[in-house]
Amino acid sequence: MRPWQALPVTSENLIGVPRHVPPLVLVTGPEQVLADRAVASVLTQLRVTFPQLDVVRLDAATYTPGDVIAHAAPSLFGEDKAIVVADVDEAGDELQGDLLALLAVGLEPGSTLIVRHKGGNRGRKVLDAMTGAGARVLEAPAIKTDRDKTDFATHEFRAAGRRATAGAISALIEAVGSNVAELASACQQLIADTTGVIDEAVVTTYHGGKVVATGFRVADATLAGNASEALRLLRHAIAAGVDPVPIVAVLAQQLRQLVRVGNAGRGRSVDIARDLGLAPWQVDKANRLLPGWSAEGLGRSIQALAAADAEVKGGGRDAVFAVERAILTITDERQPR
């Protein structure tokens, strides 16, 4: 089970459980979206047991020495408390010292300490002390590859009881996949704003205007050898004020995928995808395009694109012309089937 699949909480598994969450919870890993959810789900579970839960949020950057101790001290009214400490991987000596001191004496009944740690060695002592004291560990691993993102988005829809087509998911990742937080909120928006099966057309309606999506359309036309369509889309995008830089970036990424998939040899898409850190649909897409391409042609296309990127970064009016020329070079390299 992927870590985020354990996170959503439904009301059924909460009712009538005296204390579902141990007093210590550790959320580790760099993925902000997953860590936020982990904390939210822990707080939701705690509120079942402690409806009047008082949540205190502290973080490393603005920490005042003694705060952890002060908040953890037994209060006059005996409120139930959750102390959430963020960025312990950036914690200074005071915060680490205070946490260690608190862990040494233990928490008041009704109190919960939730510590977030993105990774690295700083704050390691706190981590060790927490796990040593039996903390529940929730993971928020990086969602990096397109494969991770595909899994993530697929699960988002499934968890909401919705079905999304493979085409919809690939379009969504092309449009907003570069930022996981944006991907998560795009999924939630589609869940909230649409009904029925989510397909590619639905996604395009919501996210088709995105710069990156434009880049993908230009790249698709280019790699299919359709020069006039690619140039039309490019000019249209430039006229609409789109920067050529991300368009070049997407083209480079697509060429790279063609080379890598072409180089991977025969095999099941899922296996190749796993080896290359791609999503299976990306492998399938590359395999559909590859018959028109030779390795040498792809190589020359990459070189043309690198030269174009240099001209684009140099600025000036020639930037668009440079991209147009690269597109023509690339479409020429593709052999008709």
Partner: protein, 379 residues
Amino acid sequence: MSVWRDVVGQEPALAVLQRAVTDPAALTQTWLFTGPPGSGRSIVARAFAAALECPDGGCGDCHECRTAYDGTHADVDLVSTEGLFINVKQTRSLVELAARRPSVGRWRVIIIEDADRLNDHSGNALLKAVEEPTSRTVWMLCAPSLEDVLVTIRSRARHVRLRTPPPEAVAELLVRRDGVDPSVAINAARAAQSHVGFARRLATDEGARIRRRDTLRLATSIHGVGDAVDAAADLVKIADEEKERSLDDRNRAETQRLLETLGADPGARTQPPHVRAQLNALEKEQRTRATRVGRDVIDRALTDLTSMYRDALVRHTGSGRPLVNEDHVAAVDHLAAIMTSEQLLGCMETIGVARERIDANVAPLLALEAMALDLRLPR
């Protein structure tokens, strides 16, 4: 004279500077140090500053020497920039500073570590102060070469040219200062092409040696288009690891030095507020530095890669000159056997193009892919 102990292979320059220290009445007040990366421009300038402040002309051990050398002396200011240019605002405040008498030392010394980053505006703001310095102020400007410095500035400064130290001198320093085994030291010094910092890292850090080996291996392993794309990805990955590592080391050393400067106990669990504030400021600075370091690291990997082709060319000449990559002779010989001199030169050129492109902000992976495609071995 031990404040000069970390200065390697710069005897001609040292003679000039030591003479200047012994006759303060005749001291030139604006100096320009030039030399290739790794020649130790900033080390020479700081040692010179220390020698000027030291009552014994640079003993290397007194308080004046130590603080001037590490940049914490009240009257010695080290200026460097993480940005592309030193701006006018920065230079104006330097000019103001230069007008003040030294507070505790004999001289007020201002060291500009990257004088090549002065542009027309900021250079002009500096001009008058550099031309007619206040009687107790000494300017030391550092840059890779004379051509990198504004004509107006360099015509007003006394120029000291530093050279790339011979690898033997660098090796000697590694043995003496860092306790490195002599045979390891000379290989590291050659491999680092006499860059003291890199040589030290190669001699003392197994990971750095592995990353260099992986980089060099690319010269003999790219056959097809797929290999080229993979090689570029490998280079980016190697550079990322190197970046992490070198930032880690440097940041830790800086933090340590700051704590010592502030008289704080590095082992203390809790630092007082003024120390904390300074630590936070330092950490912020360290984060903004990461991007520039990333580029430097790729640049270094490309220098390593270029040296393989240059070594193969040395083989073609049959001159018997020592190789940069004495520890990778087999690969060098293989390259020399399968490529003509023209092809080797072409490879060096293509690496140069990639370097320029990355410098001009081309996506590093794309620039390296184009390069790797040109580095494919002849069939």
